[in-house]
């Protein structure tokens, strides 16, 4: 048990920092996912078949292929791709991307595919009358989107978004294969050097449970807040 103490003899402080890293990666990935959703949701809802096709291709491929495979693609292919782009601009040195960026980008793309589906579903389930009413009142596109559609969409999307958050949080454990020191990687290192894998992996499980538990409590309150008046 003293292996979990803070300080030089225990792994408590290392695991605490690793937990912060997991939280940081999850939040970054979630935000990158929102950016992707912002691009691909309009494509999926577009009138044009070709844009629909692009949107559907993204969500189908990412949701049909294992997360680990996507991470390997970014881990092994990431710096190659960046170097290729750099070579166009006349830069030929070796570029190494840090594990945090690769990891959160890979998880971000995955979480983006789920977020896209959530937003699409939410927008589609908004009553058509709302769109028409805001048109009749002469609102321009921005007010229509930000003041009429978005608040309603967020209320509908929140419960599913908290599921996406859970998935994203758990997916970050897979980044450990790239060497980023988050909960899973730190437990792996600790388990290797103390030969006590049972303790450290169980403790990692407890940490993940705590994270999901706390974030669910928080998100439930947020949901209640957004559904005031309904």
């Amino acid at each position: 048990m003293e292996l979990l103490y803070f300080g030089d003899n225990g792994w408590g402080d290392e695991l605490f920092i690793a937990t912060l890293m997991t939280i940081a990666v999850s939040i970054t990935a979630m935000l990158i996912g929102f950016l992707f959703a912002l691009i691909f949701t309009p494509l999926k809802l577009s009138k044009y078949k070709i844009l629909n096709l692009i949107g559907n291709f993204y969500t189908t491929v990412i949701r049909g292929v294992p997360e680990l495979l996507v991470i390997y693609l970014f881990f092994f292919g990431g710096s190659g791709a960046v170097m290729y782009v750099a070579s166009i601009f006349g830069y030929f040195e070796y570029i190494e991307i840090n594990a945090f960026i690769t990891g959160s980008f890979a998880i971000g793309i995955i979480s983006g595919a789920y977020s896209t589906e959530v937003f699409r579903g939410a927008i589609q389930s908004i009553d058509k009358g709302q769109f028409e009413a805001s048109k009749v009142l002469g609102f321009n596109k921005y007010i229509n989107f930000f003041k009429v559609i978005m608040p309603q969409m967020l209320r509908l999307a929140l419960p599913n978004l908290s599921n996406v958050w859970q998935i994203t949080l758990k997916d970050t454990s897979l980044i450990s294969v790239t060497g980023l020191v988050e909960i899973m990687r730190q437990s792996y290192i600790a388990a290797g050097s103390t030969r006590d894998p049972l303790l450290f992996y169980s403790f990692a499980a407890v940490l993940y449970l705590l994270l999901t538990f706390i974030s669910m409590k928080f998100l439930n309150r947020l949901e209640k807040n957004y559904s005031r008046g309904f």
Binding site: E67, G77, P197
Partner: protein, 223 residues
């Protein structure tokens, strides 16, 4: 784009797919029993029993699958006593450890799917059965189970696809499944995109098959 590599790696990846499918079918098979058991426990009126079943599904759904595999594969072997029991024969094989972890994980999700399916059965169906004088056992097997199967099919289809993707984690405990072989080829050739396209297409094809199988079953069980 290196098309030769794509062609030469295809048969290797295809033979690794067999292992992926074996892992998937074994874990779904055991997971279904675990799921059914815990769904029934969840519906039990005894608070201790249903809290226990709830705790099980909460823990397995709240932690990453990777942690669960590592605890079972690396963790359990650490217990001296455990190594002397006959169970050790099973738990020293990464293949069985992966299947046990997957089955426990998918069992937790399946129990939730089945529980909600049982709960949404209209009481009228059961009452109708009772008033016809049918025994509780037959009501369960002939009325509740078929309706629950029909209700849970779409969600279970998703779970199969999630589990198919989950089997990729077997590669972290030295198994050479589809993802494991793909990773091996990538790390020896350093051509991630080509291998990703081939391996990804195989996975997509499998999800496509599962998707259509579930659609077919939904049609068959609809009333």
């Amino acid at each position: 784009m290196d098309f030769d590599l794509m062609i030469t790696s295809f048969p290797k990846l295809l033979s690794a797919t067999v292992i992926t499918l074996k892992l998937l079918s074994a874990s779904l098979f055991f997971g279904l029993f675990i799921g059914l058991l815990f769904a029934i426990l969840r519906l039990n009126k005894n608070p201790i029993i249903n809290k226990f079943a709830y705790g099980y599904s909460y823990v397995f759904r709240g932690t990453p699958l990777l942690v669960q595999i590592f605890i079972i594969y690396f963790g359990l072997g650490q217990i001296e006593y455990f190594r002397s029991t006959f169970l050790w024969v099973v738990f020293k094989e990464p293949y069985w450890c992966a299947i046990i972890a997957f089955a426990l994980n998918t069992g937790a999700y399946t129990s939730e799917i089945l529980r909600s399916a049982f709960q949404t059965i209209k009481p009228g169906f059961i009452e109708a059965g009772k008033s016809l004088g049918i025994s509780n056992k037959i009501i369960f097997y002939k009325i509740q189970i078929p309706i629950a199967i029909k209700q849970s099919l779409p969600a279970y289809g998703n779970e199969i696809i999630l589990m198919l993707k989950g089997t990729s984690l077997a590669s972290t405990v030295t198994l050479l499944d589809l993802t494991g072989v793909a990773k091996y080829i990538i790390s020896t050739t350093f051509k991630p995109i080509e291998v990703f396209i081939v391996a990804g297409s195989i996975y997509l094809f499998l999800t496509f098959l599962v998707h259509n199988l579930i659609k077919f079953l939904e049609k068959k069980y609809s009333y």
